[in-house]
């Protein structure tokens, strides 16, 4: 079950997106897309370049790192033109003017990588 937590350091009304926020003790990057909000790890899995300058594309379903143009799906984080790479992504929603985030859905990401999901 998704456990939502309030994201600190971000305000949907005033922040410039993508914006960094704190989720528990993790820093995540939040994108505002045509399909709602979505969180990602803040650094590109390729060479750890900040994704703050990444560009939304394909109807806001993917982001493209501005350094070497690796593309990742916002839903699940799969590498598109860099098969086998994965970006950690986080669900984010707006509730009463504040943003809430949750840890990545482990089960969903594991299913997409084909990895075995550990028993709870």
């Amino acid at each position: 079950m998704t456990e939502w937590q309030i994201l600190e350091g971000i305000d949907p009304a005033t922040s410039e997106f993508p914006a960094e926020a704190t989720l528990g003790c993790e820093t995540i990057l939040v994108f505002r897309t045509a399909n709602g909000y979505r969180g990602t790890e803040p650094l590109c899995p390729h060479q750890k370049v900040p994704l703050k300058t990444a560009v939304l594309m394909s109807g806001d379903t993917m982001i493209r790192c501005s350094r070497h143009h690796f593309i990742f799906r916002l839903d699940g984080g799969a590498g598109v033109n860099c098969t086998g790479m994965r970006l950690t992504t986080y669900p984010v929603r707006e509730v009463d003017g504040r943003l809430e985030g949750a840890l990545p859905d482990i089960e969903d990401q594991a299913r997409q990588t084909g990895a075995v999901v550990p028993a709870p």
């Binding site: 070497h68 143009h69 086998g84 084909g114």
Partner: protein, 505 residues
Amino acid sequence: MIGIGSATVLKGGHLVDPSQGIDRVADIAVVGGRVAAVGPEAAASVPEGAETIDLSGHYVSPGWFDIHIHAYGTLGFADPDSIGIRQGVTSYVDAGGPGIGVMDEFAALLGGHTVTDLYAGPYIRPMGIIGAQFIEGDIRSLMNFPVTQWVDFMADHPGLVRYLKVAALGSYGTGPLKMGKGLAEIIGVPLYGHIGEYQHQPVDPCVYEIFNISQPGDIITHLYHANDGPVLDEDSRVLPVVRDAERRGVLFDVGFGAFNFGWDLAEKCFAQDLRPHIISSDLQQFNVLGPVKSLANILGIFLHLGMSLDEVIDTITHIPAKALGLEDRIGSLAPGMPADITVFDVEEGEFEAFDTYAVSRRIGRRFAPVLAFKHGVRYEIDMELCQDERNWMMQIAEDHIPEAAARLSGRQREFLGALRPALEPHRWTYSLDDMDLATATALQGVVHAAARRTGIPLRDALMALYGAFLDSPFTIQSGLLLLQIDRDLALDRLEAVARDCRAAA
């Protein structure tokens, strides 16, 4: 594309042709796709009524030759001409996309199928460059070293292969480099040594051995990279091993790339007069949106660093042509040469030019191609064409059947129908950490065997495979493509695309 007939005069352009020592306004007569005359006698060398194209105010040079691009494989483009003739580059070399294990695919797909003359600079590793993640440092990707296969391929495809690419990386000492040099000698081409980015692999001291192993006429690329193992020492002095190689006649190439040009390092090299013999772009999927964009886009950087226009043109025409034994075809507009011609402007202003580390400088001049001619045929320039997402973003169509599948012929569907059961006994999964090249090679073998059984040319079979899985026709190694596709998806898709054929039968 507009044909200009069999005779044309290109009038009034400022010709820069270092091969002939020409740097002045000169007319050029083109007859039957070749240069007939240059200078005052040009007009008299064409029949009456020949077309005249006024190039006043523009520069004209031999067609640009980029010896390091990626057309084939995991870094390549759906439309290789988009980074060639459409950007003023009339000939180029694929730098390491294929290896001997897939040279038959490369030749079938790209040999003679681009307007831009495409030569091969295969990688020593049989599968070629195998991904954006570059795990070639693993000795296993050398696999077996099929010398006789190389020799046979060279005999069957004379003139296609112009150098052998090796990478000075990995953790197996200098053995692979020496094997590369040995193979280059056997097949009679220069060694083309990659220094520079190593992705996530540890840098091995063998990086500097490439300078010792290289002989006169061999080429080292990525000269101005600022990653581990640069050409400067800790005090920013050019390393003696680099100077020694330069003195011996080893050629230095820029190979700008996605990872391999640093402003600061290049400035320090130029301050010590360490200049490139050849400028190449290393254009690929991962730098076409920036910082490279085109060969033209990086040329202004070298004017800024202190090279003259004549020197820059020499590095993209005559010098590389001579280095790769192509001076009878490329790099000069002497009478009798093919009329491969680039028309360009040098614009003045203030332009921001980025290196591959997101550092920029303001430069005062930039190159802007205006027109290109290939064998005398005129092509319009479109610098942006290559940036279309469908041209550089290779994406496996997981949730839909690509439109191209609808255009496959009955024979192609029949091939896909035969491929499906042939793949059935094979199991595969894709892992970056443990790339299963043996399985990729086995899958490729299945593809080729199915093509033979169906009696379909390899090119048609490969285009059918791409049509079933890719929205744009990227020419990637067939086994590597299959390896990246979930097995169930692959089998289901082949079944679905082949079904139409069976229904029709």
